[in-house]
């Protein structure tokens, strides 16, 4: 049964993991996302659905526990925040290389280093460009509301198993910590299927199943890479998600993702009131990036302003997408600072309209 509740982002996401029929969560506490494991421990999903919840000794261990469970064909999820996500990068590369499905949540805080626990979007590059070693990609979903962080958990598991690939939910401290009304989807059954690629115990008269990312021969490793690249092209074709507001008559474009897009939307409304014809494009998937959406709009635009809580990361992908067809500038606050709609509007006027 669908259910309306007022929930904190992190707790809603944890509830969504149980309801999505996850088999296992492995994690290590870090602010601003510790409520995820705390909620799970309090809810005791082992009783509710049989889902395993385990506090690991580190993020390194947690992602490798995810590898083990995912290799058994189970729905495994982990969550962390920026420093912990850095520790998971080796594991993510192995998971991508071994083609295992899993969901990883990053409730981003500001860096570099220990940084601050305040919200940030400075892990964009790490999430969409690989992060770990080797040529691999994760689908990256960027929720802007508590509702989306719930819905994306279910979507992430579906995509993870569709492509046997790690999926990242790139959230931030604002969405993780704020409370909003949220509609929870119905409890989904846990998986009963046995996948032929999963280690479930060798079947008589069948080859044993091996989960590995190792190929000693370059020729074989190149084949693996080609197969992965073909998969990524499929993902780019099929899985792009974005929202656009008031783009039909737009002469200018704001673009932003996640919590920052909500603030930018307010700036857009203020600009419209002043008679500035500006729209907003909000990518919901950061990889695959909505390249065509930008490309199709570029011809009608006098300029694009990307608004990010970082020093300028997504702006590079926007520039690649429009490929010089129109001016692209970046406005950002970072280090845990959140831009105000007034600042954003001002940046549009200075950097794009007046610039």
């Amino acid at each position: 049964m669908k259910e309306l509740r007022l929930m904190k982002g992190n707790e809603a996401l944890a509830e969504a993991a149980i309801r999505a029929g996850a088999d296992a969560y492995f994690g290590y506490p870090i602010t601003p996302q510790s409520e995820i494991i705390e909620y799970l421990m309090a809810e005791n999903p082992e009783e509710r659905t049989g889902m395993v919840v385990l506090q690991a000794e580190s993020e390194v261990a947690a992602i490798n526990m995810v590898y083990g469970a995912a290799g058994c064909g189970k729905r495994a999820i982990t969550s962390s925040s920026s420093p912990g996500i850095s520790l998971k990068q080796e594991g993510l590369s192995y998971i991508a290389g071994a083609e295992l499905p899993c969901v990883v949540v990053n409730v981003v805080r500001a860096g570099p280093g220990l940084g601050t626990i305040q919200p940030s979007q400075s892990d964009y590059f790490q999430a969409v460009k690989g992060g770990g070693h080797g040529d691999y990609k994760m689908i990256v979903l960027a929720p802007a509301t508590v509702q989306e962080s719930v819905d994306y958990v279910k979507l992430a598991f579906e995509l993870a198993f569709k492509y046997r690939n790690p999926i990242m939910i790139l959230s931030d401290g604002i969405i993780g910590q704020m409370m909003e009304k949220v509609e929870l989807f119905e409890q989904q059954p846990r998986l009963t299927e046995e996948f032929e690629w999963a280690t479930v115990g060798k079947k008589p008269n069948k080859d044993s199943v091996i989960v590995t990312s190792l190929q000693l021969q370059s020729e074989e490793q190149e084949k693996v890479n080609l197969r992965l690249q073909a998969k990524y092209r499929e993902i780019e074709k099929n899985e792009v998600l974005y929202e656009s507001y008031k783009c039909e008559d737009a002469e200018y474009l704001f673009t932003a993702f996640g919590s920052c897009a909500r603030i930018t939307r307010k700036a857009m409304e203020m600009a419209r009131e002043k008679g500035i014809k500006v729209g907003l494009l909000r990518p919901q998937t950061l990889y695959p990036f909505p390249v065509d959406a930008y490309r199709n709009l570029a011809g009608q635009l006098k300029g694009i302003l990307t608004v990010e809580m970082n020093a300028g990361q997504m702006v590079e992908d926007v520039r690649l997408a429009v490929n010089g067809q129109t001016k692209v500038e970046h406005f950002g606050r970072f280090g845990g600072m959140i831009p105000s709609p007034e600042e954003i509007l001002n940046a549009l006027e200075q950097k794009i309209i007046g610039g």
Binding site: A24, V60, M65, G91, T199, S208, I210, T212, L216
Partner: protein, 254 residues
Amino acid sequence: MSENLITPENLVYKKTKSMTDRILHYCPGCGHGTAHRMLAEAIDELGIQGETIGVAPVGCSVLAYYYFDVDMQEAAHGRAPAVATGIKRVFPEKYVFTYQGDGDLAAIGTAETIHACNRGENILVVFINNGIYGMTGGQMAPTTLEGMKSSTSPRGRDVKTMGSPLKITEMIAQLPGTYFVTRQAVHTPANVRKTKRALKKALEYQKLNKGTCFVEIVANCPSGWKMTPVQSNKWMEENMFPFYPLGDIKVPEK
């Protein structure tokens, strides 16, 4: 006459079902091959080939999944106990083992080893202690003996600057989470038999859900030690065994 000899009663040796026909890539005389064989025989004798999931490490035995004919996962360097934890937690009914070298288990993977044992994960950890990094060409391991030469301790391990050899097996035996901890070898027929008994017991114990079973096998690395196989076994007896004495370290209370 010869026809009469080939009967089941006369059979003294047969192929191990839980091993594949692949040719082992290990150096001549290396302990890994025998250790594999004993684990596979233990799996066969318990009839659990279809219920066993193994985890291979990064090290010379990275390709263990080519040789064990059971479902296997290959873990990142040092992370096998975490991977095994993930497997065992979603499949508590299966038999789960890791097979790890000393660098994998006692250096880069120390945290995963200690915490899996401390949680008492119901898995079998097989620990091949050859006192050296075989795969990467004979560098110093956490278990390299004092004064022992390696490519990164060319004048011998100086404990003042490089630390002392780590008796990780004794360390984890202290943890309430471990149920059975033993140290064995595979360089003589008698030791081979003892090792197999230990591995078999350790797998059987998994059904009891009483905690981690940990079987160290002190092994030779003729290539890394720069010795012939025969010399390496002798050197192991004279140098490794006094520091890493063979025998049970923790046995289940009766």
